[in-house]
């Protein structure tokens, strides 16, 4: 519930700031210190999210967060050519389960299946779609416990910081492009987004 409250709060803040901006034409920033002592900063928070968003929407991340039921492949994020389906647990279906081809480690060589011990998509009851989402939509989705697997903000930070599958994005196998930020920088920006108030970007 805390998250929902925060979301409403941040929306109100944005509205208030907008009004202020209209009135005074000054920087659209709100700053205050929360009860936990963290400095809130809507501009800094949103900016941090946009930085993290560039990573989240990179094929290394987005390909396993598709809008449909099939994972995506390649830097052009085409639908997985083998008609792989999410399945209820996100681990594929029947003879096309992720780990049938994706090994615990990357298979060496160009265009070989990348690997990870827990290679999977988000499960059917928590699809966590990135594909096609605007920064604002994606931020809202990440914060919504109904959509994020009831993760607290701290759990969200922990997830992007240390989850091995998230980290796999930076060890993508031979020939694959890396996300635009280093993992450390991504995790830092993500944390900053939350620490500075988890504000939703404007669009």
């Amino acid at each position: 519930m805390a998250t929902t409250k925060q979301l409403i709060y941040s929306l109100l803040t944005v509205t208030a700031v907008s009004v202020m901006a209209l009135s005074f034409n000054t920087a659209r920033t709100t700053r205050h210190t929360d009860t936990d002592g963290t400095a809130k900063d809507s501009t800094g928070s949103k900016k941090a999210f946009l930085a993290a968003y560039s990573v989240l929407m990179h094929p290394r991340c987005m390909n396993c967060h598709p809008s449909g039921e099939a994972p995506l492949q390649g830097d052009d994020s085409h639908v997985h050519t083998m008609n792989v389906q999410r399945g209820h647990d996100g681990k594929g279906l029947y003879a096309l389960k992720c780990s049938n081809c994706h090994q615990p480690k990357n298979t060496p060589g160009l265009h070989m299946p990348p690997g990870n011990p827990k290679w999977h998509l988000p499960p059917a009851d928590m699809k966590m779609v990135f594909q096609g989402k605007s920064p604002r939509e994606l931020a809202a989705q990440l914060l919504d416990p109904e959509q994020n697997g009831h993760k607290t903000k701290a759990q969200l930070i922990a997830h992007v910081t240390s989850d091995s599958l998230v980290l796999g994005g930076w060890n993508p196998g031979d020939g694959r492009t890396l996300p635009p930020l280093s993992h450390a920088e991504f995790a830092r920006q993500f944390k900053m987004w939350i620490d500075k108030g988890a504000f939703l970007p404007d669009k």
Binding site: N83, A95, L96, K97, C101
Partner: protein, 156 residues
């Protein structure tokens, strides 16, 4: 030495752990029913069961199979009478036949997990197995037929 079970028999394989299971099966154990088609998990000709899952043995290293249960086309049924094998013959599925071991091993997982698959289920299970002869319509038909045979009690 890497120990594993292949077709319900214990095997000790003297090979490098980075050797793909496919080549251990074919070149060392001598089970040549599992085929080499692409070497990169694209075609499915090398599909075998690893603890019941339809893994692509060309990219599955021997180290992953160590201590595990492997079943190949040769071990799918005791007398080549798995409902899928019977249905494949009934529907005259094979043409060149090279991909069919992999097709059947994939279909076997489908039928185990979904005894009455729809056409969509079949697409969702079988699109990892390429058939250059294009026997897909008969594979589909044979899977439906095998589902019937299985229902009639033909499964072992």
């Amino acid at each position: 030495m890497i120990k594993l079970t292949i077709n319900h028999q214990e095997h000790s394989i003297d090979a490098s752990p980075d050797m793909p299971l496919l080549w251990a099966l074919r070149d060392i154990v001598g089970l040549t029913g599992t085929k080499f088609g692409c070497g990169m998990a694209q075609c499915g000709a090398c599909t075998v069961h690893l603890n019941g899952e339809a893994v692509r043995s060309c990219v599955t290293l021997l180290s992953r199979a160590a201590g595990q249960e492997v079943v190949t086309i040769e071990g799918l049924s005791p007398n080549s009478d798995h409902p899928l094998q019977r249905a494949w013959i009934e529907e005259d599925v094979p043409q060149c036949g090279y991909c069919q071991s992999g097709q059947i091993m994939s279909a076997a997982v489908l039928l185990r997990e979904n005894p009455q698959p729809t056409d969509t289920d079949i697409d969702n299970a079988m699109s990892g197995n390429i058939c250059r002869c294009g026997t897909y319509p008969r594979i589909r038909k044979a899977i439906h037929r095998a589902a019937e045979l299985q229902k009639e009690g033909g499964n072992k």
